[in-house]
């Protein structure tokens, strides 16, 4: 029997989808050995209301720390508390998300505990004493199977890879105290600049509409945005050429040096499909490409391709998607 720890990521008083993914993956690991899932939830006063959602996804125990010092992500205090709980809890594994927060937090925790860590994991399995994970390397061109011997092993999951599923458990809430004073952290968030409210992020959107140089000018990205609006559940991404030219912010870049995404549907508009771009999106479930050059490499990875002028095809697709969603 082995218990599994899950870090339940929250921001602005809300759970992030990756929190449910972490709990879901932890539940599967725990079930394979008959153990429990303990989730850690940090936030300002009121965050404990989110514990129920974690219970619904398989948390037996929700460790909650309500403290104003956790209003924003507080790396030092979060790492101190997580390492303390993980270190004293006898867990076989600690599951995080490979999000901006998790990328920062998980390695700190692993270093504090002096244990192994693998990030951006796309599969995780516990068989007897052996914990093995799948880890894409070389921009996804190679997949490694990695074994993690010591306990606890720290893993962080690639977002949108482990689908949250309901598996209701008691979710007994246990209030925990911070380690030290979260207000005394040396690194402090002075300001949070939120994106437009209601806009989906690339990591969480089930649909991504991405644009490349084929759009010819920054203002033509409105075609991409209109198609995203038509879907209603889509985020907008871009290639490196486009973000380097300043048409879109760097945070929109999908590819080797940008964001790695795996949405249900990826629509590439005016994107030729450079290796650097494919690295960031080739694991998407369904890929659609619209490009005027029928030899473009993007068509090699696309499930469905349309050869044509993006200025003609994209508005037609936007109208058709609006129509289809109206009637469904």
């Amino acid at each position: 029997m082995a218990n599994i720890f899950a870090f339940a990521e929250a921001r602005g008083g809300e759970l992030r989808k990756v929190a449910l993914e972490a709990v879901t993956a932890a539940r599967k690991l725990a079930d394979s050995t008959g153990g429990e899932v303990h989730a850690l939830l940090l936030g300002a006063s009121g965050i404990s209301q989110k514990a129920e959602q974690l219970a619904q996804h398989g948390a037996d125990v929700v460790l909650v720390c309500e403290n104003e010092g956790f209003t924003n992500y507080n790396a030092e205090a979060a790492a101190a508390l997580a390492a303390d709980r993980i270190g004293s809890g006898g867990y076989r594994a600690a599951v995080f998300a490979t999000s901006a927060q998790g990328r920062d937090l998980a390695p700190r925790v692993a270093a504090k505990l002096g244990v192994g860590i693998v990030t951006d994991v796309t599969g995780v399995e516990l068989s007897g004493e052996t914990l093995t994970v799948k880890h894409p390397m070389n921009i996804g061109k190679v997949i490694a199977t990695v074994s993690m011997q010591g306990s606890p092993a720290v893993v962080s999951l690639r977002p949108n890879t482990f689908t949250p599923s309901a598996n209701p458990k008691a979710g007994r809430v246990e209030n925990v105290e911070p380690v030290g004073d979260p207000g005394a952290s040396r690194v402090t968030v002075k300001e949070m600049v939120s994106g437009a409210r209601g806009k989906l992020d690339l990591a969480e959107a089930p649909v991504i509409i991405a644009g490349g140089r084929g759009l010819k000018a920054a203002e033509n990205f409105k075609l991409v945005e209109e198609l995203a609006d038509a879907f209603g559940n889509a985020a907008v991404g871009a290639t490196r050429a486009v973000t380097d030219d300043g048409w879109r912010p760097h945070s929109d870049q999908i590819g080797q040096t940008g964001r790695l995404v795996s949405p249900d549907l990826y629509i590439a508009i005016g994107i030729s499909g450079a290796v650097q771009h494919l690295a960031g999106m080739r694991t998407s479930r369904t890929i659609v490409a619209i490009n005027k050059d029928k030899e473009a490499p993007i068509f090699k990875v696309a499930d469905y391709g349309i050869v044509g002028d993006v200025f003609e095809v994209v508005p037609a697709l936007t109208a058709a998607v609006r129509e289809a969603r109206k009637s469904s």
């Binding site: 945070s251 002028d309 003609e312």
Partner: protein
């Protein structure tokens, strides 16, 4: 200001990789190597800080076989002052092992700032910087895309999903660099000549014990060949039908 930049020699990703005979690594035959992009931006950031301050020293550190000296020389030719090569037969996959060796080297260096790239594309873990920070007990900010240093404090911007954080930190500190912070300079001919005479110290790496092990590596399954469903706007109805009935995403 004394700045250390930790850099990695990484394979060029624009190739079709083959699995080596051991089944746990990539066949390096014919693969080209270069300074990791994120690390080049970290070197550039260090050089800009030094130039702005009008004084200071930039030390470049890299761990691995003798070939990493070439990577260090590249950073020196960009303008860094000196290099340290931590010798190891190969660059370990295990982040803790590397972080332990780097922390041991950095510990008594008296650096005001330690910079890393946020990630290397080969091992794709992105853990070394923050692990070193923890081992050294230093304040740490990861994946920064803007940086200002004034006196003994810094301000940096971090991209989150759909938001940005502006964070403040005291020096000494460890930072990891994201894309967008700057554009790395190319080494000038003069820089390349000067780099040959710059000090490059080589010593054994005090690697930590590996906690994780690659059992095997495989090439991912090829995506099934797609189909071009038509040309121009006339193909849109068929696409919508397929997205609805076949892919079930609409």
């Amino acid at each position: 200001m004394k700045i250390a930049v930790c850099v990695k020699r990484v394979p060029d990703m624009d190739v079709r990789f083959r699995i080596a005979a051991d089944g746990t690594s990539v066949d390096e035959t014919g693969v080209k190597f270069d300074l990791n992009d994120f690390d080049a931006w970290a070197v550039e950031a260090a050089l800009q800080l030094k130039e702005k301050a009008g004084q200071g020293e930039v030390t470049v550190i890299s761990l691995g076989p003798d070939a990493v000296q070439e990577t260090i020389r590249k950073a020196l030719s960009m303008g860094a002052d000196k290099g340290i090569h931590l010798q190891a037969d190969r660059i370990p996959f295990d982040g803790f092992s590397i972080a332990s060796a780097l922390a041991a080297e950095l510990k008594d260096g008296g650096y005001d700032l330690i910079l890393f790239g946020k990630l290397s594309p080969d091992s794709s873990n992105g853990v070394t910087g923050p692990m070193v920070a923890e081992l050294l007990g230093l304040p740490c900010v990861t994946a920064i895309s803007r940086l200002e240093i004034a006196e003994s404090r810094g301000t940096a911007k971090r991209e989150l999903e759909g938001a940005q954080e502006i964070v403040e930190f005291p020096l000494p500190a460890l930072l990891t660099v994201d894309e967008g912070l700057n554009t790395a300079r190319y080494p000038s001919l003069k820089g390349i000549m000067a780099a040959k005479k710059k000090p490059l110290e080589s010593k054994p790496a005090a690697l930590g014990e590996s906690k994780v092990k690659i059992d095997k590596i495989e090439l991912p399954p090829e995506r099934a060949a797609g189909k071009i469903i038509g040309e121009g706007a006339a193909a849109v109805p068929e696409l919508v039908r397929l997205l609805h009935t076949e892919a079930r995403v609409l």
